[in-house]
Structure formats: structure tokens, C-alpha cells
Symmetry: C2
Subunit: 185 residues, 2 copies
């Protein structure tokens, strides 16, 4: 501490520095992540009449434009049927294990979002499919005609950004703006 | 096709080759993955009396010994409370995005498992914590005394192995032995 600085002033500086660091981690994750985790759960009752949960963790390549995520995925997967039926879905971006500085606290964004299907007759459909093709390669042109595949526009509402031990923030909106600093996640 | 071979014989050869390839992919994933996905969902009712689902996708560094996964994780996280309460949990290992040959079908193992807590007074406790420390670094020794952390033994029962488009298998037991070939996942 420098002699003339108040401790409160230093605490604020440290907090601001942590926040800037978390924002950079968020931006890097948004730039580099290739697939969006799409996780859903459906309650059911077993043969023995016990309530149970069918949990389906899926993931899909995406492009991100103007704060919207776009995914093209098949309804043969449970998590995609959940998107179509507006069921409860949680989304997640997470850094790769190999790039993680701290394997105990991989950088991740977990969020709720509005989901809208972009239908094949929409003027956006071809343009977004072309963007997915450009980023994720020619598989896109192979699967584009398959009618079990649907194009989704996913617009983040709110979530949590974790960037390390004791470094978690509430985030809000399509740009994942940092709100409160959380002490646990 | 060679002149004297039956088409059935060739089909069986192709199926066996695919199966061997899937087994190698499974083994590589088990060797290289560092964190186990632990995903849980808890039903609740909103303020407006609408049934909803709290979906918590978590992950934890692990070691694997004799077919059991061991994780040391804090009950401050919802997915860890789910392990403690024997709630419905889905587990997942998935290859990193950067290593994926096909980003549209990342190699993954999704499974159900038996969960048992290894208590601190167990003779196994120190030995397994040492194995986790050895694999995942000195964070382990820092968090070992924290009483909100618990050590879990996770023993796979059954699941699905996906190794590509049209390459999914039912798997069974702690060794994830391949059973039926599935046509969709």
C-alpha cells in the first residue's frame, strides 16, 4: 500500500482489476468456444412408480451474431426436442480442459435464454446456415436439407460467469454484462 | 470386395472394425479426460405456480481406479448436493473441442452410476486424496481440510458412447463394455 492511499480505495482497485480480468476471460471464451452446451431434464415416473429425471446433456456447434447464438441441430436428440417444446433448458460455454489454467475451476458461462426457431422459409435461414458452414465446415451443407434439423436463435437472458475460485459473477443480457460479484457458485 | 467373400461376411467385418474403432476412442477418452461432468436437475414451482426445473451442470477433476471414478467436491455447488442426496444425476466425459476430429459429434460417454461417499475416517480417504493431488496438482492439499468438500466414489452402471455421426453404442458396467450399436443418439 502506498502511504497516502486509503484501504477502501485499494479494495476498490482490487475489485475493479478482478472485474476487468473476468471480463477478458468472458470475451476470450465467447471468441474461442465452438460448441454451446444445451442441457435439459424431463421428469418421469419409473415402472415402480418412483419419480425420476431424464437428464440430457447435449452440445451443438454455434455461431454468435449481435448477441444471439445460432445452432442447427436434429430433433432426434432429447435436448433439441426440449428447445422445440420450450422446456426448461440450461446453456453453457466452458473452456477446454487442455486450455484451463486451473482444472478445478474451468472458466464457464452458464445461462438461461430465450429460444426461437428460425424456420426454413425465413429470409435469415440461408444466411445463418452459410455462417455456420463458414465456421464449422462442410458438414453443414450435408445436413442442411435434413428435415429433422432445426435452426435456433438463442438469446441469453441471465446467468453466471465463473472465472476461478472465489471469482463468480452474475451476468445479464445478450452481452453477458457483469453484475454482482458472488462469493460462491 | 474379393471374389470369394460373401457380402454378409464383409458387413460383419465392417461392423467389427467400427466397434474396435469406437473402443479405441473410448479408451483414449478415459485416459485423457481430466474432469467428470456431473449434471443434476431439481424440479420446483415458480412464484406464479408454474412447474420449472433447476438444471445444474457441474464438473469435477477425477481419478479413475479399478473402474471407479473419484471426485473431491464442495457441497456449495448444487450438483454436489445432488450427489449427497442420491438425487438423479447424469455423468459425462467429453473430448475437448480443440481435439475433436468432428466438432459436430464430439466423442463422449454419458452415463448413470452408483454414488457412494468415502468418509474422512475411511482408510481409503488419504490414499485417494493423494492420487487426486498427484494427478491434478497442489490445489488438492489446500482444499483437503475444508469440511464442505466430500470425496465420492462413482461406479458406472450403463450409458451411451458416441464416437461420431451414426456411431453410438450402449455401454455397460464400470469398464463401459460396448453392447448394442445404436442408429441414433
Amino acid at each position: 500500500m502506498q502511504p497516502n492511499q486509503e484501504p477502501e480505495h485499494n479494495a476498490a482497485k482490487v475489485a475493479l482489476k478482478s472485474r476487468r480480468k473476468a471480463e477478458r476471460a468472458r470475451d476470450l471464451l465467447l471468441e474461442t468456444a465452438q460448441t454451446l452446451g444445451i442441457i435439459t431434464a424431463t421428469p418421469y415416473v419409473t415402472e415402480d412408480n418412483v419419480p425420476a429425471m431424464n437428464i440430457a446433456p447435449g452440445q451443438s456447434p454455434f455461431v454468435r451474431q449481435d448477441g444471439h447464438f445460432y445452432c442447427f441441430a436434429s430433433e432426434l436428440a432429447a435436448h433439441v426436442r426440449a428447445l422445440l417444446s420450450q422446456a426448461d433448458v440450461r446453456f453453457q460455454l466452458i473452456e477446454d480442459e487442455q486450455s484451463a489454467q486451473n482444472i478445478w475451476a474451468r472458466i464457464r458461462l452458464t445461462f438461461l435464454a430465450d429460444v426461437k426457431e428460425i424456420t426454413r422459409d425465413s429470409s435469415q435461414f440461408d444466411e445463418i446456415c452459410a455462417a455456420i458452414d463458414k465456421r464449422h465446415g462442410p458438414v453443414m451443407s450435408v445436413i442442411k436439407p435434413f428435415t429433422d434439423f432445426h435452426l435456433f436463435e438463442i438469446t441469453p437472458i441471465s446467468g453466471i460467469l465463473v472465472t476461478g475460485f472465489a471469482s463468480a459473477y452474475d451476468v445479464k443480457g445478450p452481452g453477458f454484462e457483469l453484475e454482482d460479484h458472488l462469493t460462491s457458485s
